[in-house]
């Protein structure tokens, strides 16, 4: 019996090993990893976004004349599986760089892998500050505005509110914990008079919204910080609406303006929340118009924030590869540091100091229009304006 087992193993191994050698030598290959099966509401638009980017790049002649190929893998939401995928992409597919990931712990796992194997990694979505700071390394870059940046953007608006008694509701995992911690720290610096009267930590994906809403209401805060998103947000909003939690209270909320999370709320969308997000329907810049037109023409659907992230990730990867003129890791790092490029949100730069891009976010207020949630009174906040000073960043980041 054991004999058979090893034959099977060997057969699979051969099969797996064989796949890698079939691609054409002249193509430039990029490996992409995301939680496709776990988070389809984000990753489907995300996939459409990067596919559009690949199409545009190749239609314009590829990268320095070479065709760009993206090989995409699912990590199922598990860091260990993400590393298996990363390994396959690097060892077997021979990709020039790794991109993607959504969850913070997966972003960190792949970043650690990149550091160990000396591979270039462009993190798309993971928000944890650790990716570029506490656990940053020279091989890892990140596109999206980090937790810290989004918190700083929200604090700018929140600190102007008269409210003094604040409560927080956040999912009980690293993202929620660090979002609350940064928000509290920056907020208390600007407004020492603020009191934090209650905090609720429902498990991610498993909020029992009724008791949570009731508990927050009991503390009688004047304002609430929310970090939940997805199905948890829906439950929270529904219970909060019915129980009148949000009446007469200011609410500041991470990510809620992103179409992924705002659209499901439909006619239950609460009015007047201060949120970060992506109001694609009201943007009137030429860069965004071009993107929107191309996206809608190709998919007959509107973009979500995931579409932007996917699109810009591959665009950025291509810009880095084009400038480096090589798939050598060190040359790509040198090319990426300080590299500026256009994006649907305007020009962005990958900072040399911490490898964070200056892509920003929109901060505005939620409202209802024709039974749908929208963002109004919004402004684009540039990422570069919401990062700590270079001296502070130096302290946060380990030396390479």
């Amino acid at each position: 019996m054991r004999a058979r087992s090893y034959f099977v193993g060997a057969a699979f191994a051969l099969l797996a090993g064989g796949i890698g050698h079939s691609a054409v030598a002249e193509d430039i290959k990029i490996g992409e990893i995301n939680s496709y099966s776990l988070l389809p509401s984000f990753t489907e638009p995300y996939r459409k976004g990067w596919q559009l980017a690949v199409e545009e790049i190749n239609a314009a002649g590829g990268i320095n004349g070479k065709k760009l190929v993206v090989i995409s893998k699912d990590d199922g939401g598990k860091p260990a599986d993400a590393q298996t995928a990363a390994n396959e992409l690097v060892s077997s597919e021979g990709v020039a760089m790794l991109t993607g990931t959504f969850l913070s712990n997966i972003g960190l796992a792949v970043s650690d892998f990149a550091n160990q194997k000396k591979v270039f990694f462009l993190a798309a979505e993971p928000l944890t500050d650790a990716v570029t700071w506490a656990k940053g390394n020279k091989y890892t870059f990140r596109l999206r505005p980090s937790n810290y940046m989004q918190a700083a953007m929200l604090v700018e608006a929140a600190s102007k509110l008269p409210a003094k008694r604040w409560a927080t509701i956040a999912p009980n995992y690293e993202y929620g914990q660090s979002a609350v911690a940064v928000f509290k720290k920056l907020m208390s610096e600007k407004r020492p008079d603020i009191q934090w009267v209650d905090e609720q930590w429902p498990p991610q994906g498993k909020i029992d919204a009724g008791p949570v809403v009731q508990a927050v209401a009991q503390a009688n805060p004047e304002a609430i910080l929310n970090v939940t998103f997805g199905p948890d947000l829906v439950k929270l909003v529904r219970e909060g609406n019915t129980r009148g939690l949000f009446k007469g209270r200011e609410v500041v909320s991470f990510l809620t303006g992103e179409p992924e999370y705002l659209d499901p709320l439909k006619d239950e969308t609460p009015e007047g929340w201060i949120v970060t997000g992506y109001p694609w329907y009201s943007l009137k810049t030429p860069e965004h118009d071009a993107f929107l037109k191309a996206y809608q023409a190709k998919y007959n659907d509107y973009p979500r924030l995931g579409s932007i992230v996917g699109y810009q990730t591959i665009k950025a990867a291509a810009a880095i590869l084009a400038k480096a003129g090589s798939t050598d890791t060190d040359k790509m790092i040198a090319a990426a540091e300080g590299l500026s490029m256009p994006s649907p949100f305007g020009e962005i730069t990958f900072r040399k100091i911490d490898h964070q891009s200056t892509l920003g976010a929109f901060v505005g207020k939620t409202a209802q229009k024709d039974g749908k949630g929208v963002m109004v009174d919004f402004a684009y906040k540039k990422g570069s304006d919401y990062l700590p000073s270079d001296a502070e960043v130096e302290k946060l980041r380990p030396k390479d």
């Binding site: 054991r2 004999a3 260990a80 009980n172």
Partner: protein, 629 residues
Amino acid sequence: MAFYVVQFLTGLASAASLFLVASGLSIIFGVTRIVNFAHGAFYMIGAYIAFTLTERFSGAFGFWGGVVVAALAVALIGVLVEMVLLRRIYHAPELFQLLGTFGLTLMVEDLVVLIWGPDDLVGRRAPGFKGAVDFFGQNIPSYDLFLIALGPVVLGILWLLFQRTRWGVLVRAATQDRDMVAALGVNQKWLFTSVFAVGVFLAALGGALQIPRDAVHHAMDLRIIVEVFVVVVIGGLGSIVGAFVAAVLVSELNAFGILIFPKISIILVFLVMAVVLIVRPWGLFGKPEAAARKTPGLTVNPWRPLTSNERLAALAALVIAAMLPLFAGNYALTVGSEIAIFVIFAVSLHFLMSVGGLASFGHAAYFGLGAYGVAFLAKMAGLPMIVCLLLGPLLGCMGAAVFGFFAVQLSGVYFAMLTLAFAQIVWSIAFQWVSVTGGDNGVLGVWPASWAASPSHFYWLALGVAALVTVALRVMVFSPFGYALRATRDSLLRSEAVGINAKRIQWTAFVIAGTTAGIGGALFAYLKGSVFPDNLGISLSVDALVMVLLGGVETVSGGVIGAIVYKALNIWLVSQTDLSKLVLGGFIVLIVVVFPKGIVGMLEMLAQRHRKSSPPGSSLLAKPIESAE
């Protein structure tokens, strides 16, 4: 004061939703003994279908009609599943049905996204129950009041059904002793089908009724399945009243617990279960399980050590496997290492399950503890790799010693659920104790020393350890200790009568299995270079169960094959297709139907038949592989 009343009512509303789903699970388990992993999937399909119907047909009639029709439709699907799939495997070894329903769950998760799209869906509010009722300045949603009333109503209907109808009498009789019911001439087939339909109906109704409160999405099933299992076990298996009381207990403890400890929700149900099971080994309202009449399958085909021919064949296989680095690339070698590690993990659980008859639902705890042990030693103490590998698994050993002591006091599903509770407690510690474990961001940078860093060296290391562990456990199976352990599995009373200290033997086996899993975890930490709470999570425990069941519980080393097939297939499918869950689930369901004794179990049976029809010597030479068990 008004606040506490409202909080209490809110807790009751949560309890009602939980009870609906849990009662169905409890009924199904009580009669058919099926651990229905797909119960959450039926709950989810109920919500999806109800969403479609209520969106389509407006008005009060459209909404309530839609909810009921959705539940009926899903019950029909349930009947189909029972007749096509489960009926074929009632006589398979215990827990094998879990494998089939697990496969179904995987398929459903992909199917709902294919049918209803990836977006979260938010349905209508219930007509007539849109607002809130004012209670001394506090708002209570009227839909909550509806749910609070519905819970006891459903409980009452079920009670009447079981106490006052002939069908109910038969169901209760079957719950107590299904062989006797069959012997008395009751058509079990239809009894089981009807029970399954009622259970699924309740699950789907529970899902459909979530529409006004929740978003409908593709992960609803996993969110609820573990929790309802816990509720059913706390209440006592097969007891509907128990399920109700347990649902209320858990929900109220959560509603008031978060006022004092806002982070308690993540672990509360498991803490309650652990405490209840330690104090009351059969749940609040459960009765001791009647001594099951063992299927004779275990004794027909007695185990024996390998013959020398088979040993040579196994050795040859090992040598061939060791030659993999000569022709395979780095990726294949890393996958090979991962498979070898999962072989270690699977054989450790297999040892506990097949030799000890103790099915653990929380075996990943010891795997993960081994991994964390290595991570602590390597990152905090800075010890060299070889020392870490030797000492790391001790953390798994210690965990198994502590938890195993309590767990072996129980048996059957209660044992399984207590191990699950312990695993979740360990998981939540790893998840919450950010300053030590790094929380869900894990411990990074646990990379192997240079002598083991190259994929081929690491592969040899993992393969060597896997082979050693497999051999060591086999030796143990055929040692006096192994015979004693098998005696406690086959008949607790008789084994104690001949002077075997059953609990101590089982405890020892638990510690051995836990330590072995810890060895696997230690290697895993170095393979991945990092350790996350995932490494102790439920999904990894389920993976281990699936591997063992796939290989065949009634075999000596079926876990080896189960691990290789499942892990290789999983890695390959995830890499090749976007619908990996659908394909993998379909494959598992197929295996369940075609090989109801597991892959190795089935091969053995074929070999057995073959041997009977030909002289034994030649058969051994001709088929050294299949008959190795």
